[in-house]
Amino acid sequence: MKPGYLSLRGIAKHFGKQTALQDIHLDIKKHEFICLLGPSGCGKTTLLRILAGLEKADRGKLEISGKDITAVPAGKRNFGMMFQSYALFPNLSVGENIAYGLRNRLSKSQIADRVEELLGLVELGEQRHKVPAQLSGGQQQRVALARALAFSPDCLLLDEPLSALDAKVRVKLRREICRLHRQFGMTTIMVTHDQEEALTMADRIVVMNKSRIIQVGTPNEVYENPRTPFVADFIGAVNFIGMDKNKHGGAALAIRPENVQLVREDHEKGKQGVVRELEYRGAHYRLVAELLGMKDAPLQQFVVIDVPAESMISLKIRMNQKIFFAFPPEHVIQFDSTADLAAAQ
């Protein structure tokens, strides 16, 4: 791959005996919106802090448009960072918080103009004299965003900007961040452990697990073609449906619940099962079916199936009812390696 605008080469980081990151290679294009996605403790924040220059990598190189910045201190990188806790200064007003990083760079009147502009941008003009404790969580988040944007950073780093907010505000601010990104086009790297956030916002998703990058790709790629069972399981739900014995070494097979097809009793490849759980999810139902073997003996193997609400009514599916289903071959996902299967389940 040709080196990107921002390029990470073999970054590794340890905290004592604890490995936080190993062997991180990543190329990010200019103006791209990247989401770092992964379970808690996989090293997302650490990677972001290394990008910001707040943490030193043990090994590896960091380049921005071909220039080595591995040793450049945080303040000199011109990266805007928004922290997981927001880190708004509690004793300074909204306006002062936003102006904080500008004091040494601009004249008084320039600062006033810039703060005005940013307050307008995040729609907080009225709140400028309040201190953070007087703001709601969503408003605090926007102040933090404005503060990170204040000096027009080359790169914007966001650490779980939405995780402390309730669902409604979250969706609204998600759009707001995307709007700002479109408007200014700064390269943006956002950490999240919410797959939906990553799928809806990112140009490309970087999936991490246990201090490594597992897969990089567009949301569509990552969802449709997960490279490992871990990725498949972490992003969306998935059924693991056994091994493909034709392949050498064996390959794991999986299918997403929405791709499992309900079929008639006499379908040639149909399998039979009994509905053990039934969950209403608005537009669809999620069933958990237990597979039945010879003579209807329960096999203790389960398959998750998403069924649209109208099919549920037309097929009259109820608890403990026998159903028939098939795995359409075009939707079956294959994994080359079964190495991290255990990790995923």
């Binding site: 802090r49 910001a52 220059g53 707040l54 201190p73 945080a74 303040g75 000199k76 011109n78 990266f79 805007g80 960072m81 922290f83 997981q84 806790s85 880190a87 200064f89 509690p90 004793n91 300074l92 904080y100 990083g101 004091r103 040494n104 760079r105 601009l106 320039q110 810039r114 201190v131 953070p132 404790a133 703001l135 709601s136 969580g137 969503g138 605090q140 503060r147 204040a150 000096f151 027009s152 402390a164 907010l165 309730d166 505000v169």
Partner: protein, 568 residues
């Protein structure tokens, strides 16, 4: 986008080399002020006058001198007695204020803390007014009642006045432990049908066990190393602390003094270690889910505790009032009319009281600054971890140093012509330095725990915006820490006003502090002027505290409002 070009301009240097320099300088200061003098003590204890190594000869010599061994035993005896009484009373008092529904808690609490504002000699002076040869009680209020004479001078007097001295400490420590209980455990015990008595022994005592152990050690060490009380009411009863004074000041026997110093250090170091361990263990008892203790109504329990608190408070107040009364009486016991003659001249420009004010203000100002900077750099900076850990360790060390030992090691270390810092000796600066070190650890811990409450990302956020660390410090951290800064200012001031143990070795004759003046006055039998001096110290301390707390009360409320976290 014209502005962006502006923004890309080379920015001021926000690098942290300046921070590293400050950190290194302060660590070096700690090293010189704490570790090197301590090393000097150990050296002196195992060498002879000419500096030759003699091993444990001084200790052998000590233990083969019956009089000296006797005072070691005396020290252990009075310390054990004091500890038992003070911890029992402290526990009862703290239990009454935290776990019962009695009235007037505010008043009882204030009275319990009153002794902290007084030099420890004051209790002895008051006891002389009460139980001395011409005492109020010994003479039955000058013949109104039957005489009641107790053998004040000796163990009885020492224990009595040490209990007064250690009681507030015991109360404070135990109150914290009793306040932070997990009520769910009590509900569980009740639902399992445990009796009140059984609940007390299976929930309350284990829940406070570690603090209780710490309190026992702290009280023991405070008594074991206290100098004021045995000096005033000890009579012929020698203890280790007075021995040390006699060896060093009286006989100029530095080597033997060092050996006694090491003996005094032993329980203090043990106590330090025990305290560290129990702090760690105790913190496991509470979780975020804990619910605060709810006090149930119980008339009999309240009546009992009300009686206890009233009795203890009456004794403490009585002691203080007697001392004040004694200082006002014209000629005890012959002319009991009130006069202010003892107070005349106390405020003179060059008197001990003025000296004390200078020393205490100097200690408070410099000490607060140094404590804040060190706590900040250790807690918040990203300076070299080895330096930070060394600093932290050195900052805890003074907790294990009794005042007497601290004064002694400062004499050893600074009163040495070959020492580059010898110039400090005999000036007011060495007294200030000694006081700062003496009260540093507690202030440091207070400051650190307050800094820990601030988001650790403030510094990172500043750094990522290329704002120099000292600007972030001045604009954000200092304003948010101001209430705690004022609190440690008061702590330094009050303790510098009342302390004798360390400064008695160090003060220059023309810069005698008031607390030492009290000891000297008492030595020459001038009880009333000593009482007057004590009264002035207490009043000053109360005044300073009231004024500053008045100021910081509002500040604290505001700061707490700012730090309030709003979710969602």
């Amino acid at each position: 986008m014209n502005m962006n070009i502006w923004l890309k301009r080379i920015r001021p240097n926000a690098g942290s080399w300046s921070q590293n320099i400050v950190m290194l300088t302060m660590t070096a200061a700690l090293l010189i002020a704490i570790l090197l003098p301590l090393g000097e003590l150990v050296m002196k204890a195992v060498t002879d006058q000419e500096g030759g190594f003699v091993g444990l000869a001084h200790f052998a010599n000590y233990f083969s001198t019956p009089a000296l061994v006797a005072s070691l035993w005396n020290s252990i005896k009075v310390s054990t007695m004091t500890t038992f009484i003070a911890v029992t009373l402290g526990f009862g008092f703290a239990y009454a204020l935290e776990r019962s529904g009695i009235q007037g808690k505010w008043f009882f609490r204030s009275v319990a803390l009153l002794p902290l504002f007084a030099p420890s000699m004051l209790h002895g002076l008051a006891l002389i007014y009460l139980f001395g040869n011409q005492g109020l009680i010994s003479t039955g209020f000058f013949g109104l009642l039957p005489e009641l004479r107790i053998p004040l001078y000796g163990p009885v007097g020492i224990v009595f006045s040490e209990v007064l001295f250690t009681f507030p400490q015991a109360y404070l420590m135990l109150a914290v432990a009793l306040k932070s209980a997990d009520y769910r455990l009590y509900e569980a015990a009740e639902s399992l049908g445990a009796s009140k008595w059984r609940t007390f022994w299976t929930v309350t005592v284990p829940g406070t066990k570690f603090t209780l152990i710490s309190t026992v050690f702290v009280c023991f060490v405070l008594t074991f190393t206290d100098f004021g009380a045995p000096k005033v009411v000890g009579g012929q009863y020698n203890v280790l602390a007075t021995d040390l004074y006699k060896q060093v000041i009286g006989q100029q026997n530095m080597q033997m003094g060092a050996a006694v110093g090491v003996l005094l250090l032993i329980p203090a170091v043990v106590s330090f270690v025990v305290d560290r361990i129990s702090q760690r263990k105790q913190s496991g008892w509470l979780s975020a889910k804990s619910t605060p203790y709810r006090i149930e109504g119980n008339r009999r329990r309240d009546a009992l505790f009300y009686a206890l608190c009233s009795a203890v408070s009456a004794i403490i107040l009585g002691i203080f009032l007697v001392a004040v009364y004694g200082s006002l009486v014209k000629v005890w016991p012959y002319s009991l009319s009130i006069s202010f003659s003892r107070y005349e001249g106390l405020f003179e420009g060059a008197g001990p009281f003025a000296n004390s004010l200078i020393i205490s203000l100097g200690t408070a100002i410099i000490g607060t600054l140094a404590t804040f900077m060190l706590a900040y750099l250790i807690e918040k900076s990203r300076a070299c971890p080895v330096v930070r850990h060394t600093s932290y360790f050195l900052s805890m060390l003074p907790l294990a140093l009794p005042g007497l030992v601290l004064g002694l090691i400062y004499v050893f270390f600074f009163n040495n012509p070959n020492q580059p810092l010898n110039g400090l000796y005999g000036t007011v600066w060495i007294v200030i330095l000694c006081n700062i070190v003496h009260f540093y650890s507690v202030s440091f811990l207070t400051m650190t725990s307050s800094l820990k409450k601030l988001d650790s990302e403030f510094e990172a956020a500043s750094e990522s915006m290329n704002v120099p660390w000292y600007q972030a410090l001045l604009r954000v951290t200092v304003p948010l820490s101001l209430p705690t800064i004022l609190e440690i200012f008061i702590y330094f001031f009050i303790n510098s006003m009342v302390t004798v143990s360390a400064v008695i070795f160090l003060y220059a004759p023309d810069l005698k502090p008031a607390s030492v003046a009290i000891v000297n006055l008492e030595d020459s039998g001038d009880i009333a002027p000593a009482a007057a001096m004590s009264t002035i110290i207490i009043l000053t301390n109360l005044l300073v505290r009231t004024v500053i707390m008045g100021l910081s009360g509002k500040l604290r409320k505001r700061t707490e409002g700012l730090l309030l976290r709003k979710e969602g």
